[in-house]
């Protein structure tokens, strides 16, 4: 017996009709936005060498990647992330390009999730990478573009949350030298596990920083978060990160985004390559992280190219899902005409279709031998008119039953 021929692998599915329309709409809106903002498209291979992603990144651990081998027995993976391949591409092929380099992509990434968790193993992402510039201007541009991306998809109210890797990092480093303890503190902050964080800090030397860390997971929200944190934050590096966030937040508010931007000082991105401002986006009605990004100034060094960079990726599938759940996307329309040739007039009919589609009129060729069959089919498929081609042209309007 042949198995698995009528099903798709766990975590994947076929898309049909309005599902395709919804995905394409979101994809096209985003690519158009990125193009208009001066980004050029890059496409990277669907399979890559495992080595590219073998960095101990907790977001893409080895066991989550789909693996296979090439003809030499070298380990390959199905692309689990687009930022690393683009970093490689820039570091190898665009070394001479004028800076900054602006690239965007719309492509699938693949992860192996736990079986039957209801998560997708294949996720369509659209994103940008802005490579070769440091500093506040590029951070603000990318954050504003991330907000614009969520807005333009028109999928509902959204939140963009911003944080800074350096903020938590410098506080945690100050409090204990042991990297294992540091990781544990960061984990508890990331998970907003107030109880575990409190008991862990109880075992350490009491200090004002420990007291501040205890409260850190609660420090998310609007401007009040920054003013609450400022007087308590004595660590100079953390202070610097805080001032930077304050400036960025102010600029985003100037852009009219104050209702959408929140600050989470306790945000610890699990992705190890981020170095500065980090952010995530959420849309009402979805429990997913729909946008994720940040600054990664040291990533390109791995490829022998010392360029700072920042960027983000949008989870197109999550946004598509919201739009479909709200019935916002229509299935494709049936063609306007079914063009039926009487015997011997097939080529004329095909020529006529060419004319019609030149004018943008969607027309389908009838493969039926009799007009009755063609008519039955047109009714079922909800095609409103049949165009009959013989010596003369006749149109049957199926709605009125009229012969024109």
């Amino acid at each position: 017996m042949r198995r698995n021929i009528r099903v798709t692998p766990d975590g994947t599915r076929d898309l049909l009709f309005e599902e395709c329309n919804a995905r394409r709409q979101v994809e096209q809106k985003l690519s158009r936005l990125f193009q208009l903002r001066g980004f050029s498209e890059a496409m990277t291979p669907g399979i890559e060498f495992y080595d590219l992603f073998d960095s101990g990144n907790p977001v893409i651990p080895a066991e989550k990647m789909y693996k296979m081998t090439d003809y030499k027995g070298r380990l390959l993976v199905m692309r689990p992330d687009s930022t690393l391949p683009i970093a490689r591409l820039v570091a190898t092929r665009l070394r001479q390009a004028p800076l900054p380099i602006r690239l965007y992509y719309t492509q699938d990434v693949f992860y192996q999730n736990h079986s039957l968790s209801g998560r997708n193993d294949q996720e369509f992402q659209a994103g940008v990478e802005l490579i070769g510039c440091k500093g506040d201007k590029s951070d603000i541009e990318v954050l504003a573009l991330a907000a614009e991306s969520l807005k333009i998809c028109n999928a509902g109210d959204f939140r963009l949350e911003i944080g800074h890797v350096g903020f938590v990092m410098s506080l945690v480093e100050e409090i204990d030298e042991n990297p294992d303890v540091q990781d544990l503190i960061k984990l508890h902050i990331e998970n907003k596990n107030y109880a575990a964080l409190g008991s862990l800090l109880d075992t350490l030397k009491p200090s004002s920083t420990a007291q501040f860390l205890r409260n850190l997971p609660r420090l998310f929200g609007g401007k009040e978060v920054l003013s609450a944190a400022a007087p308590l934050c004595t660590n100079p590096q953390a202070r610097e990160a805080l001032d930077y966030l304050n400036m960025v937040y102010g600029k985003l508010c100037d852009l009219g985004l104050s209702n959408h931007v929140i600050i989470d000082l306790g945000m610890v991105h699990k992705n190890e390559y981020y170095t500065g401002v980090i952010f995530r986006g959420f849309i009402e009605g979805s429990g997913d992280v729909v946008i994720s990004g940040g600054r990664y100034d040291t990533l390109l060094q791995r490829f022998g190219c010392d360029l700072p960079a920042t960027g983000f990726g949008v989870n197109v599938d999550s946004i598509t899902k919201i739009k479909l759940a709200r019935n916002e996307v229509k299935p494709p329309f049936p063609p306007e005409f079914l063009v039926h040739a009487e015997s011997g007039f097939e080529t004329e009919a095909l020529k006529r279709i060419e004319e019609l589609i030149q004018d943008g009129v969607c027309s389908e060729f009838s493969v039926f031998s009799s007009l009755e069959e063609a008519r039955d089919y047109a009714v079922k498929r909800k095609i409103p008119k049949i165009l009959i081609i013989s010596d003369t042209e006749k149109i049957i309007d199926l709605n009125s039953g009229e012969m024109l």
Partner: protein, 216 residues
Amino acid sequence: MRPIRIAVTKGRLEKNTLELFDRMGFDTTELSDKGRKLILPVYSPKGSVFEVVLAKAADVITYVNHGVCDLGVVGKDTIAEYGGDFYEVVDLGFGKCRFALAAPNDTDFFNGYATKTVASKYPNVARSYFESKGMDVRIIKIEGTVELTPLLGLSDAIVDLVETGRTLKENVLKVVEDIMPVSARLIVNIACMKLRKLEIEGFIKKVEEYTSVSAN
């Protein structure tokens, strides 16, 4: 927007959660005599509605992970076994017990070089415990009464939840080592926490308030 939805683990934690809601002044009438309804409304003293869904422990995590429930009440045991991306905001202080490694009374588990076999309902917890000890063991997943497996000769030891230790004693087993304390936790979907900050924070604050009261 739909009311805040809370997934509560059926059984013992459900009873404790209900008591907590009562202490918080919530009207839990419909939750106590639930009939056949699956989504049950609970009313706060201020009149706002919350929806409660009763579920098996692992499903609470699935619902919160997907964001179809905003909050969840679930044991640390289930969190440790299944993991997931969510905030774990309050230790509710009830449903207390611990994970422990237990072996037959007359054996010395850590002695010898032979690879040990360990049975557990929580293979991931067992795996990471032995990993942290740098020990390579064979783990067998058991769905029912794990205490039976050393008696049958299937395993050298078990990793299981221990409350009083009575079941162990009755089966001539002893605790070799405690692995981690367990209690019920309040978990929150990450996106919901950010999208409905005020409501969720208000709820958490209230839960914290009444949790500490009961602990004293």
